[in-house]
Symmetry: C2
Subunit: 109 residues, 2 copies
């Protein structure tokens, strides 16, 4: 099944992380095949860091790991949705979610 | 503000669509600057279709448009989260969400 996923030209798929308990969208990261395998086998979210160009066990340093409850692929098999319980703030800014800046019509200018 | 978004080398950012009422993650699409402008000004979700290489007013044909309630950018300014009320099934398969296929440890084989 994993082989059927459509990784992009860089070998990655975007992976949305949603809080399994309150439904809040927490972040979007990228997974390569190996990080997806590790996520499935360990039950914790692993990404591939595009900046560091290496596997990234989310929360390994901070302790704020993401405990997966469910993993889904979309109809096109080119996006992952991970429902997870975060052990702490997901964002490096200390926010619970990375989506804390709202865009409004005023931003059109 | 829009100019500060980090569009990728193709001029796109991924945009997560979440049901504004029940929190369900519905789909992930891609926006270029113009589709983001149209989304903000019209209050309905516009994407950029990577396959058709054109602006894509989601639901224009099917009628299943996405009425935006809130738009957020993430901490890195390279991902959008659109909270929206869908006027019908979001997925081209007729499913309410594009994420209807679960991945489990069995998919590791």
């Amino acid at each position: 099944m994993i082989q059927n996923l459509k990784f992009n030209e860089k070998g990655l798929v975007p992976a949305i992380v949603q809080d399994a308990d309150n439904g809040e969208v927490l972040m979007l990261g990228y997974m390569n095949e190996e990080s997806l395998r590790r996520t499935l086998s360990s039950g914790e979210v692993w990404f591939y860091s595009r900046s560091r160009k290496e596997l990234w066990h989310k929360g390994e340093t901070s302790g704020n790991r993401l405990m997966v409850t469910e993993l889904w692929q979309d109809c096109d098999r080119d996006t992952i949705l991970a429902k997870a319980r975060p052990l702490g703030p997901v964002c490096h800014t200390g926010n619970r979610t990375c989506f804390f800046e709202q865009l409004t019509k005023g931003d059109l200018k």
